[in-house]
Symmetry: C3
Subunit: 260 residues, 3 copies
């Protein structure tokens, strides 16, 4: 059964599914479609009006959980099981697959495409127009830029392919394309075409290794991460196949990879 706080402000135009819970002082604007079993926590703004938008609704998939103080604009679409931390901002024009998780204080600036099962940690800053594949990991304080000559109108948003990992504090420079399963080290600046499975490090964004060389000797775990970390996803045949196929693609590229 749905449960709406008396202190929440819910537009009569919003379309809400079954078993929707809306917290205290939350605000649901007009242009909103919320699926079943969704929890919107205290002080959230869902369907925030956009001056840029062509006024499509925001669609929040079923089984989603939006944590307190988050703002989601109208004119976006999220698959099932979206999960946000606190104080998250997601702007208009964002198309997202299944089960995106976004950490506290993250900012997705809109006009982005994001695939399934992506995980963004806190303070992720995804510039306008980014195209992000499936199973992508973005750690804290990562910036995905888009302007090659700031300030300018020359948009060059980034692309991040399936299974890639971008570590804390890394910057994806304008126009960079992060290949399948590539690994951008903490604080590195990635630019241009990053080959599948490449490890990038440093200010100059050099290829220093293939991800399969990344080993944690204490635990014996070894990259690509599909080897040791797939248990955080649903244990279905579909997911297993998708991850196996990704793993395969990353390993096949190993021989061709040129280390700088």
């Amino acid at each position: 059964m749905s449960e709406f706080s008396k202190t929440s402000i819910i537009s009569s135009k919003a379309i809400l599914g079954k078993n929707v819970v809306i917290g205290d002082y939350a605000k649901i604007f007009d242009n909103v479609v919320i699926g079943d079993n969704v929890q919107i926590d205290d002080y959230c703004q869902i369907g925030h009006p956009s001056i840029l938008s062509d006024k499509k609704p925001v669609i929040i998939g079923s089984n989603s959980h939006i944590r307190s103080f988050s703002i989601i604009y109208e004119n976006s679409e999220f698959g099932p099981a979206l999960e946000t931390g606190h104080h998250v901002v997601i702007r208009e024009g964002t198309m997202v697959g299944e089960n995106l998780r976004v950490g506290n204080f993250s900012d997705i600036e809109g006009d982005c495409v994001i695939g399934d099962y992506c995980r963004f940690h806190g303070y992720s800053h995804i510039g306008k127009g980014a195209e992000i594949g499936h199973f992508v990991w973005i750690f804290s304080l990562v910036t995905a830029t888009n302007d090659p000559l700031p300030p300018s109108n020359a948009q060059a948003p980034v692309k991040i392919k399936d299974g890639a990992v971008v570590c804390v504090g890394a910057t994806l420079m304008p126009g960079s394309i992060v290949g399948t399963g590539a690994f951008i080290s903490a604080g590195a600046q990635a630019r241009g075409d990053v080959p599948a499975g490449a490890v990038i490090a440093g200010e100059d964004g050099k290829v220093v290794n293939h991800v399969s060389r990344l080993i944690d000797f204490n635990s014996g775990q070894r990259h690509p991460w599909m080897n040791h970390y797939r248990h955080v996803y649903p244990n279905t045949e579909e997911i297993t196949n998708r991850l196996d196929s990704l793993l395969n693609e990353i390993m096949i590229n190993k021989m061709n990879l040129k280390i700088n």
Copy 2:
């Protein structure tokens, strides 16, 4: 006509202009003067009490727009057309010219002077005491520091001169003076006197070029940005003259610039 949400809390001591709109759950404290045609969105705190302040009001210029979850302290003054993103904090003692725009999650720590037409993107972190000129661009996750021996009382806030550009993730080290139209590259650390029109890069903050060497070959645009990006400002004679004069100053310095 003004429009105040019934759920907002507005001090009877606050002085509000014409056509002021105040959103849900917003809070206007005592010590506030708001100009005409200002929009204060949901959950904002305007005129937040300061323990440091000498208790002057905060003055918000006409035609401003403060977005949700923003906090502006008392004892500051903003010219017309201030625009903030969401979750912005601006502390006491901040003197701002016309049409400042500040992105989501930015923090201006007070006792700052900021000129006209500045643009700060998200997570801008402007340390106490910074002096920032006109037409300055600050991109995401930039820090303007102020303590040369942290932690200490030896304040050395930064200065940023007119038309300068500070790119994502750059740090302005204590006491640095960023010259007119200088360009601090992404992730660079600027220190000391940065000459007008200089391009700074890397951890050691070297001068690597003059800004007029920065070209986007795809679009043919070329720095200084007044060449290709002035259309985001009002098309008035005054602005045109100010930008022309800035452009001139930056180019004149080209011959004298020493590249490291």
Copy 3:
């Protein structure tokens, strides 16, 4: 006398001390114990439910001040005189000593131990499981990581010992142990064992100096900071002794320190 805003939502199960002030639209959940003379500002969430928690209460020590839009989860314990900025998130399982101060937009991810008199500036990002001593200074945009092979389950949280200073934008790599009174320079990456009193700089986290070599020539102040900055702490015999002892420990190590 206590003072609760009529617009606040306070669980009848929460245990509140004397002279507690609770601001507008704040929310106090069930599992909360608040000491005497505590001020909880507008829009805070105190005792936010945790799915991970073993359901102990959050205990907020006396004389604390939690600023607006902050979220503190249940199952944590804070000594007296906790002070937070705005928009702070502190997750469950955090054990804190006396007089922690945490700046705006900081995120403490839980299962952390933090000693007495620590000072964290804005956007501090303390990963799960960090162990932080007494009198530790963390400046803006510092990340304390914990995963040596992201993404993985191989937890390697960081340790920061008494009196250490971590400057703006520095990253503490997984498993790093920052020694007593060590100084991690702005933007540096610290890794492994950082010796007591060492100054670390750069991407490769080299030891470049002993902290006693850090001098501000303008003011004549000199590290360790206990020399010039102890006036921000209570002037008691206990604090004096603790800081003297720390200073001593840092200086004793000077002769043994190997500079890279």
